[in-house]
Every structure is written in C-alpha cells, then in structure tokens.
Amino acid sequence: MKYNWNWNVVLCRSECAQPYFDWILSGLGWTLVVSVMAWLIAFSVGSVVGVAKTAENRGLRLVAKGYVELFRNIPLLVQMFLWFYVVPELLPKVAGHFLKRELPLPEYWTAIVCLGLYHASRTAEQVRAGIEAIPRGQTLAALALGLTRGQVYRYVLLPVSYRIIVPPLTSDFMGIFKNSSVALTIGVLELTAQSRQIAEYTFNIFEIFTVATVLYMLVTLIVVTVMRYVEKKVRIPGTIAMGGS
C-alpha cells in the first residue's frame, strides 16, 4: 500500500483550505465539555437514585430500581435518538417547541442530558454498593446521637461511601468520556465527529485518527493520574489502601 503521510494536515490553521487544527481543538473541547457536564448529572442523579435504592421506604426503592433497569438496559445509541427525535414530540407543545426551535445548541444539551442520565444508572449502583458496604452499626450510632436519616446520609454514609467508590467512579467517568463520541450521531461536533469531517475533507485518515486516538488516551491518562491523587487525598488515615495503586 502506498500512502502519502502528511502530518501537516493536523497542524493546519490558515495555510490549508480549512483550519483543521482548530477543528480538532474545538472537537476536543466539546468532548470535554459534554463529558464533564454529563458526569455532573450522572454524579448528582446517580447519588440520589443510589441513596433511594437503600431507603427504608419500599416505594422509593422500587422507583430507583425502575430507573436503573430502564436506563441501563436500553442501548445508549437508542437513548440518544429517543431523547433527540422522540422526546420533544411527546412533550407538551410549548416545551417541545422550545427544545426544537428556541434552545440554542439543542444537540449538545440533549447529548449531555442523555449521557448523564444513562451513566447515572451506573453511578447509582456504585453509590448503593458503597453505602451497603458500611456496617449497619454506623447508621445506628449516628441515629442514636439524634441525627435524622437525612443527616446520617449526608454526614456519615455518603462521605464514607464516596471514598470507598473512588476507583469505580473513575472508570465511570472514563466510560462517559468514551461514550461521548456517540453524541456525533445527533450532530454534536465533538472530537470523533471533527476527525471524521477532516478525514472526509483531506483523506488523511491515518494521521487524523492517530491524533484523535492519542488525544483520547492522553485525557484518560490525565484523569487516571488526577483520580489517583484524589484517592490518596481522601483516604481515611489509619486504613489500608483499597483497590491497589
């Protein structure tokens, strides 16, 4: 196979037909923005659902279980299409109109919400597992001091649980980061979408996807390093490190 390597393509600003370098940068930027915002949703919704899964109230537990099963078992790509094409039609007219016509960057918002809610089902399972790993005596002791159930979660169960689940939460974020590429199917110009676009313009497929791959790996590496640090930082003094590292 004869292939004309041309790494200049990925560095182009004004000297090429299109500023491909800027496209890559903007793609990477959107990948990060979508991932981080989706993670914030996943973390908060996941925490609420995870707590609900451990609630005393049976109804609450059922609702939480329903959420997890629903969002975990429908393929992400299908969910992306459902949120983008179907949900606006099902909503009341005004809301549907807002989503389709007035909201700026609707595909970006949709991707963030969709990714966030999808991954919240996983985060919820992590949070639940973390809470359940804490001996029941801790809850009893906290209640015996006069704390309300909400306070027990806030001051004892969640802080301990989050510390236990830092490693799975890290891989959750990685999952979001990688899955953010699915957003290209509804028109989000993130890193993969931009790479594809450049490939179509220049036919320098190898260079551009090499760069994309390296960028994905680089970000992953940074996240892992930061989370290792976080894990060390929040480790409870006097206890043995969990999960290697």
């Binding site: 510390r163 409870i236 003094p237």
Partner: protein, 242 residues
C-alpha cells in the same frame, strides 16, 4: 426515668422479646446479662427506638418511645448510647466525632462544641489524640472516645451494649474505669455486660435475660447472693469461673 412495661417483639415469626418489664430510676445503674441471643441488645435498642416493638410501652422521662408522633431524633439525642464495636465515624477526626451531633443536632456553635469535646476527651484521658482518626487508635481508646461522644450531648441516661466485648483483655479496664466513674457521679445507666466485677461494684440492680424473657430482676447483692432461677445460677457459675 426509663420504664419498660410488658414489651414484646417479633422478627417475623420469631419472638425475640416476651413481655419484658423493668425500669431504671434516675441515678440508678442497671446491668443486663444473659446468654447470647437472649435479646439483650434488642431490648436496649428498643429504649431509644433503634428497634421497634409490637407490644407494650417504653417511656423515657415520661415520653413514650413507640408512640406515633414522638420526635425520635430529639429523644435519642437525650440518651447516650455506646456500642460493642465503638462505631466511631472513620472519616472524621476524634474531635470531629465528638463535635458532629453537638453541631448538627444541638446546634451548638463550633467554639462551644470544640470546648466541650476538649473537656470530655480530657476526662477520658485522650486529649492528645483529638486530631487523629479512629483507625489510628486502639480499641480501648476508640471506646473511650465513643463514650465522650455520647456524653457531649449531655444525656439524661446512658445505654451501653457490651462496651468491652470487642476489646483485648488489657484494654477492658481503661473503659470500665471511665464507666465506673460515670456511675459514681450519678449517671443513669443501663449496661449490657458480662463484666460481673463491674456489676458488683456499681450496679444497683442486675437483670438476667433468657430466650427473650426477663428471668431475674434483683438488687445486686441479692442477685449475686442467691439467684433464684436455675438458668441464672448456671449462667453465673459459667461466667464467674472464667
């Protein structure tokens, strides 16, 4: 102060407590003993509503624990409880453990809470450990912190559920000493324990439980002098021979 009248409790079909009745007067120290599985922990947890019960009445300072509309958090805040496994919160320092409920339940100011914590840690002999975390302390030290944490709420009574059972023998006394001092200062106490030396020394009454029933409820000297029931005699001879 604590009145337990005809309390029965079931876990499903299993009857854990059968018509239990006893009481603890203000300033009194009552020791509960009995074989494993006899319902001691369950009974003591019913007093501050950590366990529910189906029949009978428990009142603390006139407030009915099981009644609907009872503000359980408020009631619990007024009763200290110490557990077999200490149950300090591992992510907090010793000082934070003692301060948490003072801040969040009693709404004390931080300065006030910290001062009270320092005072109590000093009292249990641990003022130099305040900045450490629970896992950095020995079992005996942790249990003394747990006592300080409970006392920080200025409780009207203290419940102890086998506070020395999880401790290495050489640490038992440092915890018992704190409890003896507390009893001698007039704290109302209900103590599940097999430490008969402690019972002899400070208990006003000893309650013996077996299979969910209160089989004996006697003044300490009577209990050790001549327990009436055969089961209690057997239990005592076993325990005292150790």
């Amino acid at each position: 102060m604590i009145e337990i009248q005809d309390v029965s409790k079931w876990f499903g079909d299993f009857r854990v407590l059968s018509n239990c009745s006893t009481h603890v007067a203000k300033g009194e120290v009552v020791v509960i003993c009995g074989p494993s599985g006899s319902g001691k922990s369950t009974l003591i947890k019913c007093i501050n509503g950590l366990e529910s019960f189906q029949e009978g009445v428990i009142t603390v300072n006139g407030i009915s624990v099981g009644a609907e509309g009872t503000n359980l958090p408020k009631l619990r805040a007024s009763i200290g409880m110490v557990f077999q496994n200490f149950e300090l919160f591992p992510h907090m320092t010793i000082a934070e453990n003692v301060c948490l409920a003072q801040l969040k339940v009693l709404n004390r100011s931080r300065a006030e809470a910290e001062e009270r914590a320092a005072q109590l840690l000093n009292r249990v002999g641990l003022s130099n450990q305040a900045a450490k975390h629970p896992a950095q302390l020995s079992g005996g030290q942790q249990q003394r912190v747990a006592i300080a944490r409970a006392l920080a709420m200025d409780p009207i009574a203290m419940l102890f559920d086998e506070p020395t059972s999880a401790l290495d023998p050489e640490m038992i006394n440092e915890v018992l000493d704190v409890m003896v001092a507390l009893a001698q200062e007039g704290m109302t106490m209900m103590v599940v324990t097999h430490e008969m030396g402690f019972a002899r020394k400070v208990a006003d009454r000893v309650v013996f439980m077996d299979e969910g029933r209160i089989e004996e409820d006697a003044r300490t000297e009577e209990f050790f002098g001549a327990p009436r029931g055969e089961r209690a005699q057997m239990f005592l001879s076993k325990i005292l021979s150790h």
